[in-house]
């Protein structure tokens, strides 16, 4: 195992350009869980981001919140303004693992780890977050809801580094985050849902029900058009168009589909059949 220790972000970008296999490491929680059991994890080169101060910023501008790549879940939980303006970030952050994980895990790491069951990604996506990538070739901003192209496949070239996440400030009329796990802490989501409603429209984001975390356009269309929905079952056709849950060690496709339908139906009870 080798590790690169860049002293600056430009140096980090140089190192990534020179070694396409280097794995950037921030908090490291998703990576080190594999160290005891996976031989291949020891045959890699890691690039340590932990001392790159410019990546630590939580910065508010006039119209957005910028989370630097090293921003942890705990940083957001303790940010009073984030609690006010982006409460789903705090809801999700508090349901990640436990405090020991929240103190280390980063939002950017959650994005690039690309688990279909991630907790941070759904709420970021429901807030229309944008991933900011830097490389020696320049900067690229990619909306998170277009960042994933398949299971663990994303629009990040090996020479690119996620340096931050931009979240536009908006007035939200409605927002909710639901994580269904086998216990209240230290659980991987069986079903995740993040729903927001603002002047920009409805965002319905689902986790653990497809190879990637994704928006649910068919469900969003039901909301946008004010289609009457009289029961959870009435949502099943739209859900079937948007997601493809499976049976796995944690749960079943049947359970996931039914729970997603019931959560959407009951949480959005006030909105079905109304054009808002």
């Amino acid at each position: 195992m080798n590790v690169l220790l860049p002293a600056s972000v430009p140096q980090a970008l140089d190192q990534l350009a020179n070694d396409a296999t280097a794995v950037p490491i921030a908090g490291g929680t998703d990576l080190l869980v594999h160290w005891p059991v996976r031989v291949e994890a020891h045959e890699r080169t890691y690039m340590d981001l932990s001392r790159l101060d410019p990546l630590k910023a939580v910065r508010w501008t006039a119209d957005e919140l910028l989370l630097g790549a090293l921003t942890t879940y705990w940083d957001v939980i303790r940010d009073d303004r984030a609690r006010q303006e982006f409460p789903l970030l705090v809801d999700a952050a508090r349901q990640v693992g436990a405090i020991q994980i929240q103190a280390r895990g980063t939002w950017a790491g959650n994005i690039v780890n690309a688990s279909p069951a991630a907790d941070g990604v759904p709420v970021l996506m429901a807030y229309d977050a944008v991933v900011v990538l830097e490389s020696r070739r320049g900067r690229e901003d990619v909306p998170l809801d277009r960042f994933y192209s398949g299971y663990k496949e994303m629009k990040r070239r090996p020479d690119q580094l996620v340096v931050g996440i931009r979240i536009p400030c908006r007035r939200y009329f409605y927002q909710v985050f639901e994580k269904v796990g086998a216990r209240r802490a230290q659980a991987i989501a069986k079903v995740g849902l993040a729903v927001t409603h603002s002047g920009a429209g409805w965002r319905v984001v689902a986790a653990s029900v497809a190879p990637t975390i994704r928006r649910c356009p068919a469900v969003e269309r039901l909301l946008e058009t004010g289609t009457p929905i009289a029961s959870p079952e009435a949502l099943l056709p739209a859900i079937a168009r948007d997601v493809t849950p499976i049976d796995d060690i944690r749960s079943s496709a049947h359970y996931r589909t039914r729970v997603m339908a019931r959560l959407l139906y009951h949480d959005l009870r006030d909105f079905w059949g109304k054009r808002v």
């Binding site: 869980v33 436990a98 269904v180 086998a182 216990r183 209240r184 802490a185 230290q186 659980a187 991987i188 029961s231 959870p232 079952e233 060690i249 944690r250 749960s251 079943s252 049947h254 359970y255 039914r258 729970v259 019931r262 959560l263 009951h266 009870r269």
Partner: protein
């Protein structure tokens, strides 16, 4: 009853009978031994002891009939649960454990043993199971064999009753294994009372409860109505 014979090498026997429920005799034995050493400085004293079954406890090992134990400890467990009908997840919101154990020898340890066993029972009732694949355990890690965290269980309220067992140390009966037995039945009974489902297996995971509720007619109606 513990009968103890202390034999010296040739000067006659120092024989004492000790009843376990009479600590005064224990002190008397210590006194006697100390005195014997004062009377026989530098000489070894050998001791032998054998357990004698209390009278009135009859067990036939040929027919496997009779009193297997001298006494039983008893318990009554009550679980209060909340079932989220959207997710079919069960939450234990209160738990009362009452035990009759003869005599509580160490209150902190006895209460701790019950609370620990109850939480193990809650885990067994709701989330713990071994999943097998090709003869090996597929969920052999703490990430996928799930036990309750502090946030998954209520404060366990514990009460003890004491009906001393005359042949137990200080009147005590056994306690260690007791608390794992009752929680799962109490929880499953509570879920049945709350939902009308009839669970017959644990862990009663949300997936299994959903299947049971879907089978029952009114389960579908509950799923459609307001939470």
């Amino acid at each position: 009853m513990l009968r103890s014979e202390c034999l010296d090498l040739g000067q006659g026997a120092l024989q004492v009978t000790v009843d376990l429920d009479d600590t005064a005799h224990g002190a008397a034995v210590k006194q006697a031994i100390r005195q014997w050493h004062r009377d026989h400085p530098g000489e070894p004293l050998f001791g032998e002891a054998a357990y004698e079954k209390p009278p009135g406890i009859a067990w036939d090992d040929q027919t496997y009939r009779g009193d297997a134990y001298g006494a039983f400890a008893w318990a009554a467990y009550v679980a209060e649960v909340e079932v989220d009908l959207r997710t079919c997840a069960t939450r234990v919101i209160d738990f009362v454990a009452v035990q009759e154990v003869g005599k509580v020898l160490n209150p902190t340890l006895a209460k701790g043993q019950v609370q620990g066993g109850v939480v193990q029972g809650i885990g067994w009732a709701l989330m713990e199971e071994c999943k097998w694949r090709d003869g090996a355990m597929a969920n052999n890690q703490l990430t996928n064999y799930l036990i309750p965290t502090s946030d998954d269980v209520p404060a366990v309220r514990v009460a003890f009753l004491e009906s001393p067992y005359p042949h137990g140390a200080g009147g005590a009966k056994g306690l260690g294994e007791l608390p794992i037995d009752g929680p799962a039945p109490a929880i499953v009974n509570a879920v049945a009372a709350a939902t009308g489902a009839d669970p017959r297996a644990i862990p009663l995971t949300p997936e299994r409860l959903m299947d049971l509720l879907e089978i029952a007619d009114f389960g579908l109606r509950i799923a459609d109505s307001a939470p």
